[in-house]
Amino acid sequence: MKQRFLNDTNLLLVFSAAILLMPIWLSPLGAAYPDLLQKFAIYGIFAIGFNILFGLTGYLSFGHAAFLGVGSYAAVWSFKLFTMNVVPAVFFGVIFAGLLAFLIGYISLRRSGIYFSILTLAFAQMSYNLAYSVLTPITNGETGLQLTINDPRWIDSMYITVEEGLPSTNLFGLKMSGYPGFYFCAILLIVCFFISLRIFRSPFGLMLRGIKSNQNRMNYTGLNTKPYMLSAFVISGMFAGLAGSLLAVTDPLAGAERMQWTASGEVVLMTILGGVGTLIGPMLGAGLIKYFENIFSSFNKNLLHEVFSFLPDGVEDVVVQVVSLFVGGGWHLTLGLLFMIVVIFLPGGIVEGFQKFGGVFGYGKNKNSDSSPQNQAAE
């Protein structure tokens, strides 16, 4: 059999190249500015992590935003208390998210199917509500947790002379804003992608797929599936925590709204849109949604009038009226429609779309044939 071009090593190389060169190849699309690129990388990590749980085991968690939020809070506290260096912040973000994931997972994984979804949703909503109300000393409630001049920053204050104004996050002196921030996130994204690739190919990943297709049978063979599920849940929670801490790294504030269930819904959308259970899908979905969010929501009526100025006046006004429903503040409408279309016509997401498209031109077999739509839920 002929060796496929896209074996794992090449896939990783292509992926890394694509990510690192994003500032170049995305500039014709108007997306090559650091803020957006950072978001691509961060939400890519979030979605890749979510996919390890949902894609491999079929357990649909509606509470992943809680881990994202905890990651952010932990990172900001690390900035406030210890140092503006990002390494400890990321470390704490991942650890705390992992701990919370362990706690929530340990309880929620006693059930499966929709009950699991509701349990995770309940825990995430509890965290969100608590962050808004009782935990205000830790989370600063509605205002959100921010850096202030008077933060102790014990480690920094020992080594670094105090400068005027708010210090910015740095990696051993390299400021984490703009492109350096993006490359920091991008490298972590590539690491995460590599981990996810290894998990997909490992016996552990195979075990998780076994759970997805028939958990009962796995249990009958005398295997205790719980530890496997729990590790998958914790790993995916840690990915979310990493994403959360990176959000804080690129913009050092944390708010409770990151933990709301709509944020959990968003990552589900990204994963589904890209393709559940595929390696590259979640990243695609995350990029696409964030791209649309930024590009579509920046359109306004004047811009539309320019775009459609070639039409006759009467027609132009009507067209602009209609189109303006879908852009600017109404870009969620586009998102909802896009989402429905994908679920209805392309249950396997964009990746499946590519494969079908490739199939038309006679390119080989489906690479990720496990993403069949029928057995997505763990029931």
């Binding site: 079929g58 649909l60 309880i107 006693r110 059930r111 499966s112 199917g113 929709i114 009950y115 979804s117 509701i118 349990l119 949703l121 309940a122 825990f123 909503q125 509890m126 509500n129 608590l130 808004y132 109300s133 009782v134 935990l135 269930w261 709509t262 819904g265 589900v268 959308l269 589904i272 429903l325 503040g329 109404g330 969620h332 409408l333 998102l335 909802g336 429609l337 989402f339 429905m340 679920v343 209805i344 249950p347 739509p373 029928q374 057995n375 997505q376 839920a377 029931e379």
Partner: protein, 338 residues
């Protein structure tokens, strides 16, 4: 004592909203096997029926007021008032209850269109797919409403005659300090009537009997030559009517905005699962139960003992119930078992 009774009333009130949405959700799940995340959007559409109806009724024309000589000489006069005088004004006053009349046919239409147009294609798909597509639909509906009505809540007044508070305490000889807004009482009675109507429809009519049979064993009912699919579609429309009218009646209590559906949906879903998937009685019981529990948790006395309990109590109860009772309060065996 009074404060406890007030809390019970508050709880019943809140619970009634949860129960009505959850009833529709579980009805749809029991018949069609669909997890409908767009049900909250239907509730919201109902509320906006009331908003639209009032807007239609108060279509105005600028009329010059002869008695005023200064600036504000022109004022808006609704056509209804010009045409019918006091009767017209009374109709405007009763806009909220009257809008039920247009909400019912509209909701039947919406329910029917939704079921035939979208839901029908998702019977055989995984629950995750159903959740996702209806979630997408909910976003679309929500955004359309936002585009046409704006993002701010639009307050709706109850009819003047029931604007004040009822002296509930006096009715039961409990002293004068126990008062409660009239409209909330009316809403409570309305919910009771709706729940009773749905249950009697299913329990005491032949049509309902067939539907119940279909919920138990769809295939056999189909083999008997009954078009069970058609009936289920109608049940979907009924569920939409229940949620929609609940939305209409809720407008004076909570000014409707475009995301009210989602806010209620998450809680209603918790309610359905706590009550037991596919169990109508369970949904209603759990709705009232969680409503009451929540309103007790938001009493100051309770909050001072356990701070923040009011924020999480519903979810806490849900977690405990799901972990101790695998099928929720009243779930039937064989429905969504793990």
């Amino acid at each position: 004592m009074d404060s406890i009774l007030i809390q019970i009333l508050n709880g019943l009130d809140k619970g009634a909203a949860y129960a009505l949405i959850a009833l529709g959700l579980t009805l749809v799940f029991g018949t069609l096997g669909i997890v409908n995340f767009a049900h909250g959007a239907i509730f919201m559409l109902g509320a906006f029926c009331a908003v639209t109806f009032r807007k239609l009724l108060t279509l105005s024309v600028k009329v010059k007021d002869e008695s005023v000589t200064m600036f504000a000489a022109y004022k808006d006069e609704p056509y209804l008032k010009i045409w019918f005088g006091d009767t017209g004004e009374a109709i405007i006053d009763y806009a909220v209850p009257l809008s039920i009349l247009i909400a019912i046919p509209f909701m039947v239409l919406v329910g029917y269109a939704m079921e035939r147009g979208l839901i029908r294609h998702f019977y055989k798909r995984a629950h995750a797919d159903q959740i996702l597509v209806t979630f997408g639909l909910a976003i679309v509906v929500q955004e359309l409403i936002k585009a046409s009505f704006g993002a701010n809540p639009i307050p709706q007044a109850a009819p003047d005659i029931v604007a004040g508070s009822a002296n509930v305490g006096l009715w039961f000889g409990l002293g004068e300090s126990l008062v409660y807004p009239w409209w909330r009482l009316i809403y409570l009675c309305f919910s009771g009537v709706m729940i009773f109507a749905v249950f009697s429809f299913l329990q005491f009519t032949t049509y309902g009997m067939v539907v119940r049979a279909g919920m138990r064993d769809r295939e056999t009912v189909g083999l008997l030559g009954i078009n069970i699919q058609r009936r289920f579609t109608i049940v979907f429309a009924i569920a939409a009517v229940v949620a929609g009218t609940a939305g209409v009646m809720y407008t004076p209590i909570l000014p409707p905005d475009y995301h009210m559906g989602m806010d209620f949906l998450v809680l209603s879903f918790v309610v359905v699962v706590v009550g037991g998937m596919g169990s109508l009685g369970g949904a209603v019981t759990a709705g009232f139960l969680l409503g009451i529990v929540q309103s007790f948790a938001s009493m100051n006395e309770v909050k001072s003992i356990i701070p923040g309990i009011d924020q999480i109590i519903i979810y806490l109860v849900a977690v405990v119930i799901l972990l101790t009772l695998p099928r929720g309060l009243m779930g039937r065996a064989g429905v969504m078992d793990d």
